[in-house]
């Protein structure tokens, strides 16, 4: 832009009708900011038609008053000076919508977190700052233009990454709602952990039978395509219209497919914790992890045997690799108590004389698994609770058996040594190493290493990356049932995105002024979303921004040497005007 509007040049500013509301927030604001003084200072600003100071701007009654003002006074701009936009920007945008005012002609000014709460010692200073901030808001609003959401067509097809129980069940669910499905599995066969398991809790159904049933169902569906020994290796495009690059690892060499999908469900599962050498005796012959033990029980017929030797006694040490002190794995894996108890019942059924000791910190066999806990006790399992700060120790006894030394809180803190044939370390879940995929999809990781959802209760399968959903244990430890449930939630969310056939995107995106762009392409490398591509225009090369993949971060704006890029809703002109207003001498 060769000519910038001058904030002092009133002629350049269109006449507007703006309403300004300064909120008391009960006393949160008015205790430290002279709200009336702010209103006084603002009421005579150019284009300010309405100025009010409600006790609570967000209250239903106040919102109704605002709607009446917008309607009655024909307002075309709105400023609410209250709390952080994180709290109520959506509230007032929705209210604007209801009043027939373009929601992007609304500006929220934060005079609580940034003013009253920050300057409780200086009422005069806080008031002066608030006046400046509200003036800036009004100045920005004065230059606002109505914006409409961007509508993009979406592809009715979902890519499921991971062919475990969550991914496979989700695939069927997606097909059920009428979406095409692609399943990509890194290993040579579908099924994941569950596909390797025999009987599992709660009802003894074999994991591999459950997986076989899902795979048979998938095979019968024409709208589900599965790829094994395959990985998602590239992703481009934007929400609703992703282009997924899938690499198939084949004997004759890798083969790359590019497929269009509307959404992606990541269900990449977990890894089991691998104890360190010496951790609870790991490394000593006869000390095994839970998955190893499960395989051992399933392979035993008649009697429980290991390496040809009969196992007559087993000690289970719970919470291995979980519930550790920070910076270890502080979380609980949820499934392991029930899984171990269930496995001990399998052992009792195999050979009722096997003596089983469960060394735990707490038994978290919650919900219906409580019944398994009772059943295992009645079958002869003994539970010993050890103090958190005195974990059991495993060593070899002189007679060759394993000796597990444990302090039992229920035997008056007696230190007991249990001579057993086998020690099972009840290993929990750890996040699966998946750096390539994580970086590719830009998925956020929690401090625990699992993928983060947006909201643990209200948006449990969505991520901050639009159209990319998470399901199953890649998000955190779950039982198989819970994994499937989260997979189905991801199905519902995929349908919510794709079934309309289009998606509405926030219009706060960057745009290029074609005449000003010289085609230097400095902006391309500044864009973290690969949204900027060179196009040919009027005989020369210029930058073009794909509105559907632009997040409106503004990273491209300052790098443009020609000031050819503007961010809608936050244009250079608006920001200059706001700054000018902010630094203007306060009135009174």
């Amino acid at each position: 832009m060769s000519e910038q509007p001058n904030s002092t040049d009133d002629a350049a500013i269109p006449e507007r009708r703006i309403g300004v509301y300064i909120c008391h927030c009960g006393g949160n604001i008015s205790d430290y900011v002279d709200v009336e003084a702010v209103r006084e200072a603002l009421k005579d600003e150019p284009d300010v038609i309405v100025s009010e100071s409600p006790v609570f701007a967000c209250a239903d009654g106040t919102q109704h008053d605002m709607i009446d003002d917008i309607d009655g006074q024909h307002l075309d701009g709105l400023v609410v000076a209250s709390c952080s936009p994180k709290l109520h920007q959506v509230t007032f945008r929705n209210m604007s919508n209801r009043a027939g005012l373009n929601p992007f002609s609304y500006t929220q000014v934060n005079i609580r977190e940034q003013t009253s709460w920050a300057h409780t010692h200086d009422r005069a200073g806080a008031t002066e700052k608030a006046i400046g901030l509200v003036r800036a808001g009004v100045a920005k609003t004065r230059l606002s233009v109505p914006l409409v959401p961007l509508v993009v067509q979406t592809k009715p097809r979902t890519l499921v990454v991971g062919g475990g129980i969550a991914g496979l069940r989700a695939a069927i669910g997606l097909a059920d709602v009428g979406l095409d499905v692609l399943v990509v599995e890194r290993e040579d066969q579908l099924g994941g952990w569950m596909g390797r398991f025999g009987p599992t809790f709660p009802r003894d159904l074999a994991g591999r039978d459950e997986i076989a049933a899902l795979v048979a169902e998938i095979d019968s569906r024409r709208d589900i395509t599965t790829y094994v020994a395959a990985e998602l290796t590239g992703k481009s495009g934007s929400f609703g219209n992703y282009s997924a690059e899938i690499t198939l690892h084949r004997a004759q060499g890798d083969k790359v497919l590019t497929l269009e999908v509307g959404s992606i469900i990541v269900a990449t599962g977990f890894d089991t914790y691998l104890p360190e050498a010496g951790e609870f005796g790991y490394g000593i012959d006869g000390v095994v992890t839970l998955p190893d033990f499960k395989a051992l029980v399933e392979s035993s017929t008649g009697r429980l045997t290991r390496n040809g030797k009969q196992v007559r006694s087993v000690a289970y040490i719970y919470c291995v690799g979980n519930r550790q002190e920070a910076p270890g794995n502080e979380y609980c894996s949820k499934f392991c108590c029930a899984a171990t108890i269930h496995e001990s019942i399998q052992v009792s059924r195999l050979d009722p004389t096997v003596r089983q000791f469960h060394l735990h910190r707490d038994v978290r066999a919650y919900g219906k698994a409580e019944l398994l806990y009772s059943e295992s006790r009645e079958l002869g399992s003994t539970y010993l609770k050890f103090p958190d700060d005195e974990p059991p120790a495993v060593a070899t006894l002189p007679d060759g058996r394993l000796g597990v030394t444990v302090v039992d809180l229920l035997t008056g803190r007696r230190e007991l040594t249990l001579p057993v044939d086998l020690v099972v370390l009840v290993t929990g879940m750890v996040p699966r190493e998946n750096t390539g995929l994580t970086n590719l999809l830009k998925l956020p990781l929690g401090t625990d290493g699992f993928y983060n959802e947006i909201h643990p209760k209200l948006r449990p399968v969505e991520t901050v990356v639009d159209g990319v959903l998470i399901a199953g244990c890649c998000q955190g430890p779950k039982t198989a049932g819970e994994s499937v449930a989260s997979g189905m939630a991801a199905v519902a969310q995929s349908a919510a995105i794709l079934k309309k056939g289009y998606a509405e995107l926030d219009p706060l995106v960057a745009t290029v002024t074609a005449d000003a762009c010289t085609g230097c392409m400095a902006c391309v490398s500044a864009c973290p979303y690969s949204s900027i591509t060179p196009i040919s225009w009027d005989g020369h090369q210029i930058a073009s921004i794909d509105a559907s993949s632009c997040k409106g971060c503004g990273g491209c704006v300052p790098v443009c040497p020609e000031d050819a890029i503007d961010l809608l809703g936050y244009t250079d002109a608006q920001m200059r005007a706001a700054i000018e207003a902010l630094v203007k001498e306060p009135v009174g």
Binding site: S374, R377, L379, L384, T411, L418
Partner: protein, 390 residues
Amino acid sequence: MSTLIDPGLMGDVLKFGAADVTACYSCGNCTATCPLADNDASFPRGIIRLAQVGLTDDLVSSKELWTCYQCGECTTKCPTQADPAEFMATSRRYAIAHYDKSGLARVFATKPAVGWLLVVVFAAIFAGFFMTVRGPADANALVLFDFIPYPVIHWTGIGVMVLVAVFAVWGVASLARDMARKDQVTWKELTGSAEGRRRASKALWYSLGIESLGQRRYREDCVDSAPIEPLYRRRWLIHALTLWGFLGLMLATGLDYGLDVAGIKATGTPVPLWYPTRALGTVAGLALLYGVTWFIIKRIQRAGVASRTSTPMDWMFLGLLWVTGLTGFLIEVALYVTPAPTWGYWVFLVHVAIALELVLFLPFTKFAHAMYRPVGLFFYSLAKQRTDAG
């Protein structure tokens, strides 16, 4: 100090009964509800736990086993139907078997068929022996000690008692040693000072006098001894009558022997019913028969938690006591009937055989509680005195 546990303990204990105890998850309701449990003897939870984790020595030497009178309140309040009362009874059987070095008690408790066979075989041996050595059966008057010569009974009895004494002393001494070790009570501590001797005497009086003879806590604290039951069938009373009756009969026999030795009255001399030793024997016998009969009725009726579960060991003990008591009475009836009935001789033979068997089996049957309970109560009193002294 870590204790090496015995993984097989619970499995072994379960052979003695208490099938439901595996449901126990150590909540402690039983101990909280037990009217007899206190800091000096905390049970049943803690005792169940010993079996669960495999602490054999701790289990068998628990004085708590012998401070429990099996009222069953714990079982009533158990949230998992683990039947802690039955576990306590089972553990007592286990402890009796543990301290019986002959192995007979284990057979009686865990192999009932073999146990009953042994009862029959031993009775037959005694009866056969007396049949073999029997003398003439006078048809005019019952001259019992001609039929089975008095010296034969006398010396057989002495022989049986010596044998019993060996096993009884062995068992009681072993239990006392183990309990002393567990509670860190030393011989020196009990006998080395006047204070120690005073405490030991007090414990002895508590154990034998107040509790065994006086049945104080059984009478006052046990829930099922509360006056919900009519007095005549209250457990403490029928137990007391059985005990007092048995002791009365022992006393009468002893006095009769004393009179013989003193030359006042030869054993077997016909005496009137009011003759002091005869009168004592009659009253004591009635008390014993009354008590034992009620115990049998209660077990048949399964009245209350204490009588709900009956093992062969319970029936064996009650059966021998009852047959001994009943045949004793029949003999007394026969003695005062004219003309003397000849069946009196055969009842006498059965009576002597079964009575000797009852005494012979003392350390191996439920009868053994009479030896071990006072030991437990003795150490309980010592512990209590220690606590009270601070």
